[in-house]
């Protein structure tokens, strides 16, 4: 608890230069030994906005709310133009790239499995399946009868 028995104000009340009462909404989350934490939140959001936001939340959720506000405030001070949105944009790009790589790998599996199925079907005529491109595989599937006639292995 930031409000000590000796009457020492919390970081918020110190910065705001006011008396820190036992009901101070900020005291549990902004101890006096970390003045920077409240300073940055106050700079970006303002003490009265933070107070209103915390008062609207159940007590057990206020700690998480303060943590996320501190995180967001730090991001906005580091990058005044983009704030947290810069990180979100970067992460969304990462998600898109990974999803694309996943789709490619899944398509590759399907392609090879289809090649193998076709290879089994024409194994007696030793029809060769070759190449790892879908276009080549489709061409081969379309010309399977032709392969049988012109086998290299008979």
């Amino acid at each position: 608890v930031a409000f000590m028995a000796g009457g020492s104000p919390c970081a918020s009340c110190k910065l705001l230069r006011r008396r820190c009462t036992k009901d101070c909404i900020f005291a549990p989350f902004f101890p006096a030994d970390d003045p920077h934490k409240f300073a940055i939140v106050h700079k970006v959001f303002g003490a009265s906005n933070v107070s209103k936001m915390l008062l609207e939340l159940p007590v057990q959720q206020r700690g998480d709310a303060v943590s996320s506000l501190v995180y967001e405030a730090n991001a906005r001070v580091r990058d005044p133009v983009y704030g947290c949105v810069g990180a979100i944009s970067f992460l969304q790009n990462q998600v898109s790239q990974l999803q694309m790589q996943l789709a490619v790998a899944q398509a590759e599996i399907l392609c090879i499995q289809m090649q193998q199925r076709d290879g089994c079907r024409s194994q007696d005529d030793a029809g060769r399946s070759d190449g790892h491109s879908l276009a080549a595989m489709q061409q081969m599937v379309g010309q399977q009868d032709h392969l049988k006639r012109e086998s290299l292995w008979t």
Binding site: K43, V44, F45, G46, N49, M53, E56, L57, Q61, D64, A65, S67, S68, L69, E72, R76, P80, V81, Y82, G83, C84, V85, G86, I88, S89, L91, Q92, Q94, V95, L98, Q99, Q101, L102, V104, A105, Q106, E108, I109, I112, Q113, Q115, Q116, G119, C120, A126, R128, D130, G131, H132, S133, A135, A136, Q139, M140, Q143, H146, L147, E150, L152, W153
Partner: protein
């Protein structure tokens, strides 16, 4: 941005004020000055970025950041960067209004979880791909020579290289050729 939580906390007086504004108010007030019920002068810092047509957008920003903080932050930036800053602040405010506990930190958290999950699935799929490729190499007929890498079939449906290999069948090991290592490693490259 794909994430857009619902914002349903517009101050009622903002909408009412718009309806009441017949001939008395300045129709050219920006959303900020309308919200604050003040005159919108030519030098209003917020006017270019918070048009009257989007009152909820400013209401969210006001609720989360406060008018003076927004104005101070925009004024501290070069003019060419202010529009982008206003837009990102509006986005963050919308996320905070939609999720009062975590705001955009919650969005970041969810994206990081999605990245981890997709990375796991990608690793699993690539491992499966390696197995399928190895299985295919083992299933190849014993007399078949290893295929050249990335050589699609010509239009005639047969390969000239295959005819050249006909005389080399006895050099192929009886248990079938294995996939060329270079070809196997190249399967990852996209």
């Amino acid at each position: 941005m794909s994430t857009a939580p619902a914002s349903n906390d517009v101050e009622p007086e903002v909408l009412e004020e718009e309806e009441e504004e017949g001939g008395g108010g300045n129709p050219r007030r920006c959303a900020a000055c309308k919200y604050l019920r003040r005159r919108c002068g030519h030098g209003c810092v917020l006017a270019p970025y918070f048009p009257a047509s989007r009152p909820r957008r400013y209401a969210n920003v006001h609720r989360v950041f406060g008018a003076s903080n927004v104005a101070r932050l925009l004024q501290s930036l070069p003019v060419e960067e202010r529009a982008q800053a206003a837009e990102t602040m509006a986005m963050e405010a919308q996320w905070r209004v939609g999720d009062p506990v975590y705001g955009c930190a919650g969005v970041i958290n969810r994206l990081q979880e999605e990245i981890l999950a997709t990375q796991c699935e990608l690793a699993r799929t690539r491992a499966q791909l390696a197995i399928v490729v190895a299985h295919g190499a083992q299933q190849a007929p014993p007399s078949a020579a290893p295929p050249p890498a990335h050589s699609p079939l010509p239009a005639g449906g047969h390969r000239v290289a295959g005819m050249q290999r006909q005389g080399e069948q006895q050099d192929v090991p009886p248990d079938g050729p294995f996939i060329d290592p270079e070809e196997f490693l190249d399967l990852d490259g996209f």
